[in-house]
């Protein structure tokens, strides 16, 4: 048969590769800056955009979607063409994808720092950007499927399965979790409230880790590891089991992020069971990767690409063992809200995602420039610096997690809580310092890579279009002697649909009952909608990213009840669009901040927000000085009330028109309270709204009439 000559597009791979490196460095710098703020708050510069609450979402989004995202696209555009023996379907679509994605990243960086956020972790971007993501993702999908359809290789190699599953699942997760009602151009409220919002968010959050940070990277592993080791994968059969079992089980495990929360118990248990089951496929994949190197371990000593891959795959194994362990309720009681989780995700982020991205860059750049790596020695030094960096980062944080959780739980013999919350945080400062040193080493290693790759590029000549030859695919007439599964294996669209069905099942089983059965969210009569001022204050709380350090979820533990008051009930959150349960306590829980047990005067909050250390010496909270000058945007109140009404919050009809009158009335009364304590403040500044919101937290449930039995 006549072979066809064609060219692989290396230019698009180069562009995504550069973007990976640039945004990798930016994301790591943002992370380092945020990490230093935890023990040295002054480095926030007292500016709104550079304060932890806004910098942390920038860091996570930059690393996940800009650094890892671009590294995925780099690897996919390189490997897909070669696995399909075809150039990308459309160069034009490739470039629209490239520039679209980079524009989204730029928009994300600007808007997150400006405080435009939905506060849903790893889905913080506001609705116009969400729509842009959907469009660009679809363009990527068309380009990918177009390439698969015009391929010259009969079989779809397993890496492509992982790419397909990634594409379809990320599309589903992104759309379902981002459903919101726009209030204005850059502000929206989540369609879901409270418990439902939390369930949808962590179904998304967990599976963003699964289908953005894991499955595409596994696809890359299944392509680049055999390439670098120059031998086929250890067991192709195992890779098939790995694929189907992983995508099927992963999607069910989301609720393990909400153990001991107000989520219904059955959903929590479901999350735990599936998390434990996840060990099997994850470790199957890890072992498949490591066993590929059997008999070739001598190459690992020589080749920095393999070095990075071995540690990346080992870190994958480690974090996929940790994950299920952390989802056991007894361990989760320690890990949730502490630094143990942060350590866990960075084993995945720095080890698995980062090191695999470095490995494929070190592999592809010399190939695409037709040369060899400038310095193997420098790459090896990068490897060691990075590895030591990961250890210095993670080990102290594991320690910090255990230490803080056990300090929270200690009581004096008299039955009093032994440690003040602040003590449990300041005690961790040495660990936080070590973490930032680890992060710095990792960053320095990455910079060494930039230099090494730059020198490599300089000594080679870029091959924009790499020539290749292959016979075209002929239509086969009969599959008579083949099994049905072999047919599926060759049909990308069938694969897409099967993957979608599989991943939908897990999501539906978790979510539908929570939406269906009213008894899952017992209503509490005394829980009332926020007043307009409180609603505005809540939006400021969201804007400043308070949820990045404060939870609003008191778990049913003796110490938490003793420290914060009655544990949180599902019915308390029915008007919370979006929920604000948080995932980390660098500061104390705020769910009952306004309830009588914890209530502080308005003046305390006023002074505390201006300079936290004036009220709690040694506090690590940043100053929020701009809230004292910024005028409250009352113009948005009617639209906000209308949006909430649409979502089912029972404000009276026509309330949007008179809401600002109530707002000013409440603001004036807070200003009057402050005046009594000798604080002169105008009533139309943002701090007043924030105080109103903080004073409202957890108050409703104390108005609940006592059951008759107790009165007897």
């Amino acid at each position: 048969m006549q072979v066809e000559k064609f060219y692989y597009d290396n230019k698009i791979v180069k562009a995504f590769g550069i973007a990976t490196i640039v945004f990798g460095i930016v994301g790591m710098l943002a992370g380092l800056w945020a990490a230093i703020q935890i023990y040295y708050p002054a480095i926030s510069l007292n500016l709104a955009p550079t304060t932890f609450g806004r910098l942390r979402p920038l860091h996570t989004n930059a690393i996940i979607f800009a650094f890892v995202g671009n590294s995925i696209f780099t690897g996919v555009y390189y490997s897909l063409q070669r696995l399909c023996k075809a150039r990308m379907f459309s160069d034009k679509l490739s470039w629209i994808h490239f520039w679209g994605w980079q524009t989204i990243i730029a928009a994300a960086a600007i808007t997150l720092l400006m405080g435009y956020t939905t506060s849903k972790e790893y889905a913080e971007l506001e609705w116009p950007i969400d729509i842009a993501i959907t469009i660009v993702w679809v363009i990527f999908g068309i380009n990918m499927f177009g390439t698969i359809l015009k391929r010259r290789e009969k079989h779809l190699y397993v890496a492509i399965w992982f790419y397909i599953a990634t594409w379809v699942t990320v599309a589903m997760l992104h759309i379902v979790n981002s459903i919101a009602i726009p209030v204005s151009f850059m502000k929206s409220y989540s369609w879901y409230a409270g418990v439902q919002d939390a369930l949808v968010q962590w179904w998304y959050g967990h599976n963003a880790v699964a289908f953005f940070l894991t499955t595409p990277i596994l696809g890359l592993m299944y392509y680049f590891l055999p390439k670098a080791a120059n031998r086929p994968v250890y067991s192709y059969r195992l890779s098939i089991i790995h694929f189907w079992a992983l995508i099927f089980i992963y999607i069910w495990a989301g609720p393990h992020h909400l153990l001991y929360s107000a989520l219904p118990d059955w959903a929590q248990s479901l999350g735990v069971v599936f998390s434990i089951m996840l060990i099997a496929p994850s470790w199957g994949g890890m072992l498949n990767g490591l066993f590929t190197l059997r008999g070739a371990w001598d190459k690992v000593r020589e080749d920095p690409v393999l070095k990075f891959m071995v540690v990346a795959i080992t870190c994958y194994g480690m974090s996929t063992f940790e994950g299920p362990m952390l989802s056991l309720k007894s361990i989760n009681a320690i890990s949730h809200f502490t630094d143990l989780t942060i350590a866990h995700v960075h084993i995945g982020g720095l080890g698995w995602n980062g090191f695999l991205a470095f490995a494929i860059l070190y592999y592809m750049v010399p190939k695409m420039w037709g040369t060899t790596l400038y310095s193997k020695k420098l790459a090896t030094n990068h490897f060691w610096l990075g590895t030591i960096g990961i250890i210095l980062y993670a080990v102290p944080l594991y320690w910090a997690g255990f230490e803080q959780a056990s300090m929270w739980k200690q009581f004096t013999p008299e039955g009093q809580i032994k440690y003040d919350f602040l003590q449990t945080v300041t005690n961790l400062i040495p660990m936080y310092i070590s973490r930032s040193i680890g992060g710095t080493l990792y960053l320095v290693g990455a910079l060494m890579m930039v230099y090494n790759l730059y020198k490599t590029v300089k000594k080679g000549i870029f091959i924009p279009n790499e020539a290749a030859e292959a016979a075209p695919l002929v239509k086969e007439v009969s599959h008579k002697k083949e099994y049905w599964h072999r047919v599926i294996e060759r049909k990308p669209v069938t694969m897409l649909i099967l993957s979608l069905i599989l991943v939908s099942i897990g999501g539906l089983v978790q979510m539908i009952p929570t939406f269906l059965v009213k008894s899952n969210i017992p209503t509490i009569a005394s829980v009332k909608p926020y007043t307009p001022l409180e609603l505005q204050g809540r939006d400021i709380y969201v804007r400043e990213g308070c949820y990045t350090c404060h939870s609003q979820m008191i778990r049913p533990f003796r110490d938490e009840v003793a420290r914060y008051g009655e544990y949180s009930k599902a019915g308390e959150f029915v008007y919370d669009h979006p929920f604000q349960w948080g995932s980390k306590r660098t500061g104390p829980d705020l769910a009952r901040e306004g309830a009588p047990k914890l209530k502080r005067p308005d003046s305390w909050h006023y002074n505390h927000m201006y300079d936290p250390r004036s009220m709690s010496p040694g506090s690590l909270m940043p100053q929020y000085v701009w809230l004292f000058d910024n005028k409250l945007d009352t113009g948005s109140t009617p639209a906000k009330i209308r949006a909430m009404r649409t979502l089912g919050v029972p404000y009276p009809k026509g309330y949007d028109k008179i809401a600002n009158r109530d707002l000013m009335h409440q603001a004036d009364s807070i200003a009057a309270n402050l005046k009594k304590e000798k604080i002169e403040s105008p009533s139309d500044v943002e701090i007043i709204a924030l105080i109103a919101y903080l004073q409202r937290l957890g108050r409703d449930i104390t108005n609940e009439p006592k059951p008759l039995a107790e009165n007897k």
């Binding site: 409230a193 390439k227 059969r237 098939i240 089991i241 189907w244 072999r486 089983v509 269906l516």
Partner: protein, 53 residues
């Protein structure tokens, strides 16, 4: 209108548990049949695809 209102009329939520178990069981049964009925030779060929280019 709250999201819950759109779906609350659907009845028979109990079936979810049972359905999940059956789906789960069948899924693994089908997958394992697939994997073990395929010939080793074809796996060997497919697994060499990345090395061919």
């Amino acid at each position: 209108m709250k999201f819950i209102n759109y779906l609350e009329k659907v009845s028979g939520v109990d079936i979810f548990g049972l359905a999940s178990l059956i789906i789960f069981f069948l899924f693994f049964l089908v997958m394992l049949t697939w994997v073990f009925k395929t010939k080793k030779k074809s796996y060997r060929e497919i697994s060499r695809i990345p090395l061919d280019n």
